[in-house]
Symmetry: C2
Subunit: 495 residues, 2 copies
């Protein structure tokens, strides 16, 4: 894989300088077009051998491009806010918005290589993180991102020579590398791991470009041209990349109807039973959140359900157990301008709780396969691929110790009608009824289908759905609290 | 000040319960109106004696209100990202947007009290932080915020009794207080300091309410009613608060014209001198940024100037000295939706660099007194008060060790015209010329006035303006670099 990047590619100064004038002009034009279209971001991942010109090339790109529209991010040591969250969080928070170019040093591939060199990442774990990276990059690509991955290469002999030069150059002193490249074995380990990683993660939607690093003219011109050509192609095509046809069509929805129909909506609790059980479950929750073992976890509770199914009331009974400093509620409405400039899941990643924290999502990322599907706010391809992306997202949360609990509060149409009417009459509940609620009601059957598909495709061992029989509010509230408590206890027992 | 909060106010259960029904309903109505108007945020600051019911009251408010529109923030130990920035940063990042209620525990007053109890805050320093808080709150108020400050009080005797009860209550174990209230002296020190702080910071635009904490019914109803009445009044008035008439009118602008006229725009550098001096200043900057002493500082460079004055080119010469991982460029355009929902300075605070970081603002917070003033994008009262707010902001940066360097790149009308024409002809510079540039040109005189006033009012010892003679790009670029270097060196020498 690296052979052709060790043969001593070089370009003479004159050829280089002649080419650069046109290249710069074209890059600036493309960058302006990128900004004006504001349809997709560009992600450049920068990896490679020490001294192969990573930093120099990025510096040069920043000179050629309008640096005000380029965002260079390096990920060295994580901050404590980053350490308290799943490892992907730090990348999500630094993603460039649509219309911008983000250059990421020290990205997820650096983490993999580091893990291999220090022996922390076993073969099977490496396969797993590779697989996860491919899925993440495919998602970014499906969301429109243009992804280019560069590996700056040097042969072992070239590296030795370069290190000698760098030693004498004071300008390089400040650069911190987490790897000790002077150790002879490091090079071999890196190249071994890189060989596998590049092979596995070289996809049409996120290709690797191996750049020989010895000659500055050659490497600069190569990177500049790759960027320019990819950018021009993406700007011309209707989408940055054509969406991959990987979303399997859904089967007939006859079974879905069965799923919600199978709920026994007559389940209920007497007032006495309710008050006793509610108090008991609330005390249990307070205790679990205060438990020392919660320090290694975080809690995410997702509330979805029919309009007027009692989400707000159920949430109040959960928070009623806790001090307001112990939780955050994130109500999900239409995305803001900054959120629309990012991949779909970005607006949820930004609210992912740190360790010991509890976040309640009042509606959630499932909007994609519910309201957005039913109302046609996104394309069919978008919501079809969302199932897999959501499963990946929740797996990333869970892998870090975040307990994910998801509720669908289910009522029947008669109960909904009764509650709508009741709400319109009681003044201080009036604020909850909108015309949209009435419109949604007309799409009841479509929502039934959407909920069925959602549960079929995203109720996983990692983050199962809990369908809550909510015709009786008391029953629903207790079931919600008990489910959260059971999930926390199970997580504590798993450790 | 606290006498009337030690006399044992109490309400009986029946009176309380009867009042609460109507109060809850009215609070929900007001909250809905707040959300729909989305004109201003509500800030509740929560302080007081341990055990006086701070947490309980906030919990209750969260039950009465729609908790999805309330954001409770507590500030215990700062994270390392917060520690790397001025102390105000952590409050700014948690401000509720317009239409929401933010409840802040452990706010700036808690910091003052803590500083007094542990003796870190001397009298004169206390006066200073008090003064700063008043100015910040006035600014929030002028931006529309409704600010209510609550002091939950107990007499010393009441506190002793309460502590006894709390000891036996396991639910209170998780609560962390940075103060050891069991020490007899703590109460006296807190009350002493609070007496002074409350007196000084009790303003019409951000009043204190002292709440006797012994009786839960009394304190809950008091807080609820104060919140309701304030909210209702603010919702009715055209603005949350009438803006204070504290902005002094500007004097005649005759002198302003003199200021820019006094620049010798014929200053220039030969190509040789330029290349030598540029290389030397760039090397100096690289060295200063790599200097160990920079770890205790951060650097902010602000670029303002006439259109086509060469801001972009000057910025490139600055960044040309550095590795792209060492700086961030923040181009300031129209605010986003999330930024518009916050006080004016919020969108700059979010980009304040941490220690050892360098942020370049390509246009800046001075837009308020330049383009927004000239184009009428904000009211006269808004830009008149901005001068003082900006000075406060920069003082807060500087107090933390952030070096603030501000450039006005000045060219004359002939030079601008020549550059506009040149740009329209050269393809790869074409992207820089817009119709807006031509329109701005027609307002040349108004900008001259605005720049003059800006420099008069915001060129401070803490963050002086540097007027850059920019008809000659070479001269301008070297002057910019040299000024940054001098400022860094001076800061290092001050330590």
């Amino acid at each position: 894989m690296f052979e052709s990047a060790e043969i001593g590619h070089a370009i003479d100064k004159e050829t280089y300088e002649a080419a650069v004038v046109a290249l710069r002009e074209a890059l600036l034009e493309a960058q302006l077009e990128l900004k004006q279209q504001a349809r997709f971001p560009v992600l450049l991942l920068i990896n490679g051998i020490e001294g192969a010109g990573k930093g120099e090339t990025v510096k040069l790109l920043n000179e050629w491009l309008d640096p005000r529209l380029v965002q260079v991010e390096s990920f060295l040591l994580p901050t404590d806010e980053e350490l308290a969250r799943p490892p992907q969080w730090r990348y999500w928070r630094k993603l460039p918005p649509k219309g911008r170019i983000g250059i990421l040093f020290g990205n997820w591939y650096s983490q993999m290589l580091l893990g291999r060199v220090n022996g922390q990442l076993k073969d099977s774990e490496l396969e797993q993180v590779i697989e996860e990276s491919v899925r993440t990059e495919r998602m970014f690509s499906d969301e429109g991102a243009l992804i280019l991955k560069f590996w700056f290469h040097l042969s072992k002999k070239q590296l030795k020579k370069r290190q000698k030069e760098l030693e004498d150059d004071p300008r390089h002193k400040w650069q911190v590398s987490v790897l000790d490249w002077k150790q002879a074995k490091v090079y071999d380990k890196i190249v071994d791991a890189a060989e596998l990683i590049l092979r596995r993660t070289n996809r049409d939607f996120a290709p690797w470009y191996v750049i020989e690093g010895v000659d500055a003219y050659y490497r600069s011109l190569s990177v500049g041209r790759i960027l320019l050509e990819s950018l021009q192609a993406a700007l011309k095509s209707k989408r940055a990349r054509e969406p991959s046809p990987h979303a399997a069509p859904l089967v007939s929805s006859l079974d879905n109807r069965g799923l919600l129909d199978s709920l026994d909506l007559s389940l209920s609790l007497s007032k006495d039973d309710y008050q006793r059980q509610l108090a008991s479950e609330q005390a249990r929750l307070a205790k679990l959140i205060a438990d020392k073992r919660f320090r290694r976890h975080a809690l995410v509770a997702v509330f979805e359900g029919n309009d007027a199914a009692g989400k707000g009331g159920a949430i109040r009974r959960v928070t009623g157990a806790l001090d307001p400093r112990q939780y955050h509620i994130v109500p999900i409405a239409a995305p803001t301008e900054e959120e629309r400039a990012q991949p779909y899941l970005w607006r949820f990643w930004r609210h992912v709780p740190g360790k010991r924290q509890f976040t309640i999502f009042d509606r959630s990322w499932y909007g994609r396969v519910l309201v957005e599907r039913v109302e046609g706010f996104c394309s069919e391809a978008d919501w079809l691929r969302a199932y897999g992306e959501i499963n990946d997202f929740e797996e990333q949360l869970r892998d870090y110790g975040v307990v994910v609990v998801k509720f669908w509060l289910s009522i029947d149409q008669e109960t909904q009608m009764a509650r709508f009417s009741e709400r319109e009459q009681i003044a201080f509940k009036r604020y909850k009824i909108t015309e949209e609620d009435w419109r949604n009601r007309e799409k009841w059957d479509q929502y039934v289908d959407a909920v069925g598909d959602m549960v079929d495709r995203t109720s996983t061992a990692i983050a199962p759905w809990t369908l809550v029989e909510a015709n009786d509010k008391r029953y629903a509230r207790v079931k919600v609290l008990r489910t959260i408590n059971d999930a926390l206890e199970a997580a504590f027992e798993r450790g």
